[in-house]
């Protein structure tokens, strides 16, 4: 298959168009400094949700430990950029965070991914709590419960946008690849996949590590945009926030995660004045979605450029006929 074809060019156009649109909105002042925070939060949430969707939606493993992996990424990048306040330092920090998180995910994943469903959820939840407690106790490195402050402001929204696109690209391409197909087979029926010769532990672990690595990227960008991180930012509630995005968008749909992150980002802005009531509405929405539309907004449907092209072709063919 050629690298340059209609589909890849189409995706490139979509990505650049999105960037230009945002750039236009920022320069004309539609997105003010206040709303830029919303924009960045949405972008980081997309990274986190797409990564978690790979674990929950594509490999079918229920992880509640996303905040823990995010914390490792955030702290690694935060500490490294404090020593090297340059872009090289930031990329080094992100890379180190991704590597460290992948190692932790590997160590955690191999034994715990043998567990099924809710047991795995609880085990990953325990891991995330342990990571947080370790961070609180490493006073000399992480400044304990008070958190790290004065992390250089390195990531601006265009950089975060680029990382968001790269993450989506990585996860989307992985699910289309041969290992990705094996991963989806595990989700559909683990025993059947195993009897067809799929090494289930291997592919579950790969999906888990990839998801954790994207969480580390999200965490690192969070640290270098907001400049202050505390262990309290990475509690169970953070994992649930990301989970809500994945569930709302549709478990198994990357497009869904992106759409849900954007919608919930806007919803957050509108519900800001309501304070605690906002979380009550969130909770009710989560229960409501599960009872009335468990497949979320998009189910497992995806937006694809090739699908769009096909639609166009059909339309034009009809026009000619």
């Amino acid at each position: 298959m050629k690298l340059i074809n209609k589909t890849t060019i189409g995706w490139l156009v979509v990505a650049i168009a999105g960037f230009l649109l945002l750039q236009l909105a920022v320069t004309t002042g539609i997105i003010s400094a206040y709303y830029e925070i919303t924009l960045v939060t949405i972008l980081i949430n997309i990274i986190l949700a797409v990564g978690l969707n790979l674990i929950i939606g594509f490999s079918g493993q229920f992880s509640l430990g996303h905040a823990g992996f995010m914390a490792i990424g955030a702290y690694t990048a935060g500490i490294i950029t404090k020593y090297f306040p340059t872009y090289t330092g930031l990329f080094l920090g992100i890379l180190a965070g991704v590597i460290l998180t992948s190692i932790v995910a590997l160590i955690v994943g191999i034994p715990t991914l043998r567990l099924k469903g809710d047991y795995l959820a609880i085990a990953t939840l325990g891991v995330a709590e342990i990571i947080r407690i370790v961070i609180v106790n490493m006073q000399s490195v992480t400044n304990g419960a008070a958190g790290l402050s004065g992390i250089p402001y390195l990531s601006k929204w265009p950089l975060i946008y680029v990382f968001t696109v790269l993450t989506i690209l990585l996860v989307a391409n992985y699910t289309q690849s041969s290992p990705g197909r094996a991963t989806i087979a595990i989700r559909e029926d683990e025993i059947a996949a195993e009897s067809m010769g799929v090494n289930t532990t291997k592919y579950k672990t790969i999906a888990f590590i990839l998801g954790a690595a994207t969480a580390a990227i999200g965490g690192a960008l969070h640290a270098s945009y907001f400049s202050v991180i505390r262990p309290g930012d990475f509690t169970f509630n953070k994992s649930v926030d990301v989970l809500i995005i994945v569930v709302f968008g549709g478990i198994g749909s990357i497009t869904g995660s992106v759409v849900a992150a954007i919608l919930l980002g806007f919803l957050n802005v509108f519900l800001q004045p309501f304070g605690a009531l906002r979380m009550i509405i969130y909770a009710l929405a989560l229960i409501g979605i599960m009872i009335f539309k468990p497949s979320g907004l998009l189910g497992n449907k995806e937006f694809t450029v090739s699908g769009l092209l096909r639609l166009f072709n059909r339309k034009s063919a009809q026009g000619e006929g």
Partner: protein
């Protein structure tokens, strides 16, 4: 050695509270295979009901305890009927996510109505210390231990000797077969939530009395630890929850006393991960072969 026994006493009182919460987890899991994430929050609501009864209505300890148990039990049944029942045939992950949603709702609902600040629980029981062989036992500790013990015996009686208990055991063994035998499975599930939530409500009042403070987020950590206790003892087994609860309570107190109280929670979660890897069925649980 004296400190050791002293810590054992503290551990036993904490453990009996964990055991009360763990019983609810284990019964619900035994019957519908759901980790009821909202269970820790029912315990929190129980503490707040006890607080309101004593603080605003001037009730004594036992009336407040009974009211909290009754109202928590009703809340548990209500949650089951509204949020979990429609999902009886959905995937387990869907029900689990709903349970997380309910937990969020209870926490934020209480935050909204009571505010985030920590409240001090009115001291209705005077806390005299007894000295036995150089060890100090407070009246509240004795009260906690005794209440927990009475409730556990009562639960054991209900499950083993009554008709409803027999139905509960039948549904947990095979719910479709139980249904064919004419058992109303929905009622049995509601009754299980009723019992479990009543115990959680009692634990909430006892903890308020023991630690003196309550707040809307107080249910999160004990809820998780009680779940660890249930898994440790063998989830689905009532004696397992009691054993697990006491073990976790004692381990936690000993770690705080001899090690670092900061890593106390990490040790508990470490135990969870170890037990899940080494013996997922728990100490008392039986290993079940996977069927295709």
């Amino acid at each position: 050695m004296e400190t050791f026994f002293q810590q054992m006493i503290n551990g036993l009182s904490l453990g009996s509270i964990y055991a009360l919460i763990a019983l609810g987890y284990t019964m619900v899991y035994g019957i519908i295979k759901l980790i009821n994430f909202a269970h820790g929050d029912i315990y929190m609501v129980g503490a707040f009901i006890g607080y309101t009864m004593i603080h605003s209505f001037g009730m004594g300890f036992f009336p407040a305890l009974l009211t909290a148990m009754a109202l928590s039990a009703l809340l548990g049944v209500l949650i089951e009927r509204i949020a979990y029942k429609p999902l009886r045939h959905a995937t387990r992950i869907a029900v689990l996510i709903t349970a997380i949603g309910v937990s969020y709702l209870l926490q934020n609902g209480m935050l909204y109505f009571y505010g985030a600040e920590v409240r001090s629980f009115p001291q209705v029981v005077d806390n005299t210390l007894f000295e036995v062989a150089g060890l100090q036992v407070s009246r509240i500790q004795l009260l906690i231990f005794a209440t927990a013990l009475v409730l556990m015996v009562l639960l054991q009686f209900i499950v083993q000797k009554t008709k409803m208990g027999k139905a509960m055991r039948a549904v947990s063994t095979d719910s479709s077969a139980a249904q064919l035998m004419g058992i109303n499975v929905d009622n049995v599930i509601s009754f299980t939530f009723f019992l479990g939530s009543a115990l959680a409500g009692a634990a909430g009042v006892l903890v308020g009395l023991y630690y003196n403070t309550i707040d809307p987020m107080m249910g999160v950590a004990p809820g998780l630890k009680a779940f660890v206790a249930a898994v440790l003892g063998g989830i689905g087994f009532i004696p397992g929850a009691v054993l697990g609860g006491f073990t976790i309570g004692i381990v936690e107190t000993l770690v705080s006393a001899y090690g670092n109280s900061m890593i106390r929670d990490a040790v508990v979660y470490g135990i969870l991960i170890l037990i899940l890897i080494i013996r997922p069925a728990g100490i008392l649980g039986k290993h079940v072969k996977e069927k295709v």
